[in-house]
Symmetry: C2
Subunit: 420 residues, 2 copies
């Protein structure tokens, strides 16, 4: 037993070493078809663990219908719905293709994707460009306005960002996050600092590579209008950092957490790419004026990848202003959340520190044994979508990863270690 | 005596009402000659209370020599020095002409000035554009590189900023500061958030009004390279907000604090525009590698106007990361400084709050009676200049406003109230 514990400790140490020694760099924005040439036709990648059309929640169905029209696979939403119902589309998780996506997380060949390269390990991860607030596809929006915006991201902003990033040789993300943690961001529900810092880094390169000032002004204004623009970059970074930590024999550390609006899924390093799922929970939080919990869709999106690497709810101590926004209590008690997450993590990231907590590092490396033992479920700061397609965000709150995932994972892990 | 106390309370309430009801907007960048047409030829405005060439410290003399060459009044630095010594220039405080300037604070007709309008009261205040870090005129720099940079600010960045600001109808600064306080800035030694937010607001307008993308890229890159770019905006804002609070009979509230490198000066509302001075102190703080206190010039600059309105050292609780930078102790104890300053202020600004302190407002309205009574001197977060001209910044630290200013002011105030 002691021998096994020592083996697990060594494997876990290697897992967090890989996570924390990552060097994620935002290097490009490319066409998905180019980044993922192996994607079969009519494939739609979605957030969370695997799911079919029959079990998809309202906003995800709405997004599927919208993206099928965007791709030209259906003439209108009704046709897209009928096609989905008869199995005309192939659904696969983003996570199976080096991708992540917020909320519904639609990824298809016709979109442009942010590219984050992990220079320590050579792997890449992808995420679509953040669409802004309001009626957007990640919240199940699918009307003409939503599709036109994605067309514009594909034809204008995406290529311009790609050109600027290539010209400047990419943007190292680790120091950017370090600055953001000193500026009140936790990089899940608050990306105000990192979005502003990113624009500040990009603006001169966008100008140097711009064909004309009109389009440049529109591109700059689109980024500048969105405090959450950075979220999708943070997510691709999370995926790029956690992927090399997958599949380390004997490791009980979580390498992914994600939700598809129906199921919550986790992956654990020592059990490889197997998903352990449980029904998603309903976030507890604050609703925008005019909305209540009755309007809310349960927890959704790949964005919990940021908690997987120590940000979001785990870095709450860095972001007192987010505590009230998500309805989690007094701002002055932000550090309480980070301290609690330290109890289920095996390390602190010395490169990502929280000034107000005298530079303690963000808790990193969720150990499923500690989660089950303490009963402290990972805290995820999340947006709340309306349960009907097309309405958009109705609030923000905290959701706990369901205990069932961790119990199932621990059972499988114990079996694998021969102690089941 | 009770009657007098009530009169003072009422006057003080009006003073802080004026400060806090200000609506400062960054509206333009204009030629100083246009903003200050009454300036006599060969006039040099400087930081701090009045001072002549004979008593000026090294960096200020260096800056005077440099700005005289920039203006074409002298062919070289040696001629400028000789002219200064024989009284060829007229020296006046920035504060006497609606201006402020950091460190040496040179303001002359040939420069471009940021314009902040206080829309509640109609007054305007001016400050030169921040030159960036390293060898710069505000730290006494005066060689060709320094003068060329000021020429470029005058010919390129200044006009571009002015055009962009006019096109967008100005930038309201109160909400910007409110955001910055939630992002770790105290707007004196840390302007990282506000500099980034300002660029984010300006970038689209700069692009819309740019003549060509090359110059635009250079302008954007210059702003983006400087975490302290916003400081000069904050200073003009401080001047614009505090000026309408001057000259209220019976008020014991401070309306300006500034230093010329030799003397520290304060103005108190009830005693009008009289300066109360005492020798400046030496900041206590952290020195950049290779420098010690032996290299340091004593406290200098008009930048303490930000403390006068509740920012800088008074808002330390918002900026845990600045505490270590200025060598003031543990980051987690940032709030201690703000709480101490609350003891010498008569109000809290409910529009400028500190999330980590559960949204308490920054302490506003320094009462000279409370300063003398408690012995708590105003805390100022400051840059430290090398005592020789042209070296630049050698560190950052905390300096206390000298007790002598407040005692002298309280004496004069008591005389004026008939209780001397």
């Amino acid at each position: 037993m002691t021998d096994i514990a020592a083996r697990i400790d060594a494997a876990n140490a290697e897992t967090v070493r890989r996570i924390m020694s990552a060097e994620p760099v935002l290097i490009d924005v490319v066409a998905a078809r180019e980044a993922l040439p192996h994607l079969a036709d009519r494939t739609i990648l979605h957030a969370g663990p695997p799911i079919g059309w029959d079990r998809m929640c309202g906003p995800m169905r709405g997004a599927v219908m919208g993206i099928a029209v965007f791709e030209g696979w259906a003439a209108d939403l009704a046709e897209a719905e009928a096609m989905a119902a008869r199995g005309a589309f192939k659904f696969e998780p983003n996570h199976h293709h080096d991708c992540v996506g917020p909320m519904t997380g639609m990824t298809t060949g016709g979109q442009m994707l942010l590219v984050v390269e992990n220079r320590s390990f050579g792997n890449r991860a992808y995420c679509a460009i953040n669409e802004g607030l309001g009626k957007v596809m990640r919240f199940g929006g699918n009307d003409g306005e939503v599709l036109d915006r994605i067309r514009w991201l594909t034809s204008s902003l995406g290529p311009a960002l790609g050109k600027a990033l290539r010209e400047m040789g990419g943007i190292p993300l680790k120091p950017l996050i370090a600055r953001g943690l000193g500026m009140g961001d936790e990089m899940h529900q608050r990306n105000l600092a990192c979005s502003s810092l990113l624009l500040r880094l990009l603006a001169p390169a966008l100008a140097r590579t711009a064909a004309d000032t009109n389009e440049l002004a529109k591109n700059l204004a689109f980024i500048a209008a969105n405090d959450q623009f950075f979220l999708n970059v943070a997510m691709a970074m999370g995926k790029a950092m956690s992927d090399p930590a997958r599949g380390i024999a004997g490791s009980s550390v979580v390498t992914a957490m994600c939700r598809n609006g129906t199921d919550f899924g986790i992956r654990v390093s020592g059990t490889g790419d197997q998903w352990f799922t449980a029904p998603v929970e309903m976030p507890v939080g604050m609703y925008f004026p005019g909305f209540t919990e009755a309007d809310a869709n349960p927890d959704m999106g790949d964005s919990a990848i940021v908690e997987t690497i120590g940000l979001g709810g785990f870095a709450m101590g860095a972001a007192p202003a987010v505590v009230g926004f998500i309805g989690a209590g007094n701002a002055s008690e932000a550090a309480v959340f980070t301290r609690a997450m330290s109890e289920i993590c095996i390390a602190e990231n010395s490169e990502w520190t929280i000034p107000a907590m005298d530079y303690c590092g963000v808790p990193t490396g969720i150990d499923i044994r500690l989660v089950v033992e303490t009963g402290l479920m990972p805290t995820i700061n999340t947006g709340i979508a309306h349960k009907k397609p097309g309405v958009g965000q109705v609030g923000a709150g905290i959701v706990r990863a369901p205990r069932g995932c961790f119990e199932a994972a621990l059972g499988a892990f114990a079996d694998k270690m021969g102690v089941g």
